[in-house]
C-alpha cells in the first residue's frame, strides 16, 4: 500500500502517543478530522496499524530482575526450534521469544521477582528446556531507550 507524507506524519504522531484523539492528530497533520479518521481507518484495514497494547511495568509490579538468555540449540535435532519454543511458551516468566540467524539461535527474555526467584526459574524451567546446547545470560542493568519506534 503506498503511503504519502501525511500518512507517515499521522503514524509518527500516533507512535509518540497512541492515546491521541483524531481531532488532535488532524490538527498536527493539518488535515480535517474527517480526513484523518478516513486515513487511520485505511491504515488499520490494510494492516499497517495492527493495534495498540498497554505496556506492563514489571518492575513496578515487583519483578525486579530481567535477564536476556541467548540460547544455542543442538542442531543435530531437526525439531530443536519447535520443541524449545513450545516448551518456553509454557514458562510464564518468559515474556519474549525471538529466533535468529547468527551465532545465537533463540533469545528468551525472562523476568523474576529477585535473584533467588531467578535461580529457581533458571534451574527448574530453563535448564530443563529441550535441545539446548549452550546458554549465555545478559543481566539487565538499565534501559537507555525502549520506545521501539520505527524511523518512519
Amino acid at each position: 500500500m503506498p503511503l504519502d507524507d501525511t500518512d507517515r506524519r499521522l503514524l509518527r504522531l500516533l507512535q509518540e502517543d497512541p492515546a491521541r484523539g483524531i481531532p488532535d492528530l488532524a490538527d498536527h497533520a493539518r488535515i480535517t478530522a474527517r480526513q484523518a479518521g478516513r486515513r487511520l481507518e485505511r491504515l488499520r484495514e490494510t494492516g499497517v496499524i495492527r493495534g495498540t497494547r498497554a505496556v506492563i511495568d514489571w518492575r513496578a509490579l515487583g519483578w525486579e530482575v530481567t535477564v536476556s538468555l541467548r540460547v544455542t540449540l543442538d542442531k543435530t535435532r531437526p525439531d530443536a526450534f519447535d520443541a524449545l519454543i513450545a516448551a518456553a511458551r509454557a514458562v510464564p516468566e518468559v515474556t519474549e521469544i525471538q529466533t535468529f540467524l547468527g551465532k545465537v539461535d533463540v533469545r528468551l527474555n525472562v523476568i523474576a521477582r529477585d535473584m533467588k526467584d531467578y535461580q529457581r526459574i533458571y534451574r527448574d524451567h530453563i535448564l530443563t528446556l529441550p535441545h539446548i546446547a549452550d546458554i549465555e545470560a545478559l543481566v539487565h542493568v538499565a534501559t537507555v531507550k525502549a520506545e521501539e519506534w520505527l524511523p518512519i
Binding site: R53, I97, L138, E148, P151
Partner: protein, 151 residues
C-alpha cells in the same frame, strides 16, 4: 510495589493484548460497569503498573524488512563517557532499543533497517563509528513472539 487484585490483573492482561477496546467492553469481561472499569483502568496507568501504550505497526509493510539484535562490548581505551555513549546511540533513529547489561556484552541493542544493505550502512557509519566501541555481535531476527508474562 503496587498491589493488585484479580480484577486488576484481568484488566492488565486484556489491555496488554489490546488497549484499544472500550472501557464498557473491558468492564463486561471482568464483571464491572463501564464507569467502574474506566476508573480502574485510569488508576492502572496513573499508578505506573501500566507505563503507557505502544502502537503496534507492521514494520514490513512500512518497508523495514530487517531487525537485528546487537551485542556491543566497549573498548577499554579511548572510550567516551557512558552517558555520552548512551546519548549518541539513543539518538540514532534506527536504534530502537538500548539496554545496559552485565555479562558477555555491555549493551544490548535492537536495530531496525530497510534491508541488509541499509543495516550495514547504519552499523558502519553510525554505530561502529562511535569512539570506544570494542566488539559487536549481530544476530538477524527471524521471528518474534511477545508472551503475556506471569500475571
Amino acid at each position: 510495589m503496587i498491589e493488585l487484585d484479580d480484577i486488576d490483573r484481568a484488566l492488565i492482561r486484556a489491555l496488554a493484548e489490546d488497549a484499544g477496546r472500550p472501557a464498557g467492553e473491558l468492564g463486561r469481561s471482568v464483571g464491572l460497569s463501564q464507569p467502574a472499569a474506566w476508573r480502574r483502568i485510569r488508576r492502572l496507568f496513573a499508578s505506573g503498573a501500566l507505563s503507557g501504550r505502544r502502537l503496534e505497526l507492521d514494520a514490513e509493510k512500512l518497508g523495514f524488512g530487517v531487525t537485528v539484535f546487537l551485542g556491543v562490548k566497549l573498548a577499554t581505551k579511548g572510550r567516551m563517557s557512558m552517558e555520552d555513549f548512551e546519548r549518541v546511540l539513543g539518538a540514532i533513529p534506527e536504534v530502537q532499543r538500548v539496554e545496559h547489561v552485565l555479562g558477555l556484552y555491555d549493551y544490548r541493542l535492537r536495530v531496525v533497517a530497510r534491508d541488509l544493505a541499509d543495516f550495514e550502512r547504519v552499523l558502519r557509519r553510525r554505530i561502529m563509528a562511535l569512539p570506544g566501541i570494542g566488539s559487536i555481535e549481530a544476530n538477524v531476527m527471524l521471528s518474534e513472539e511477545r508472551r503475556p508474562g506471569p500475571i
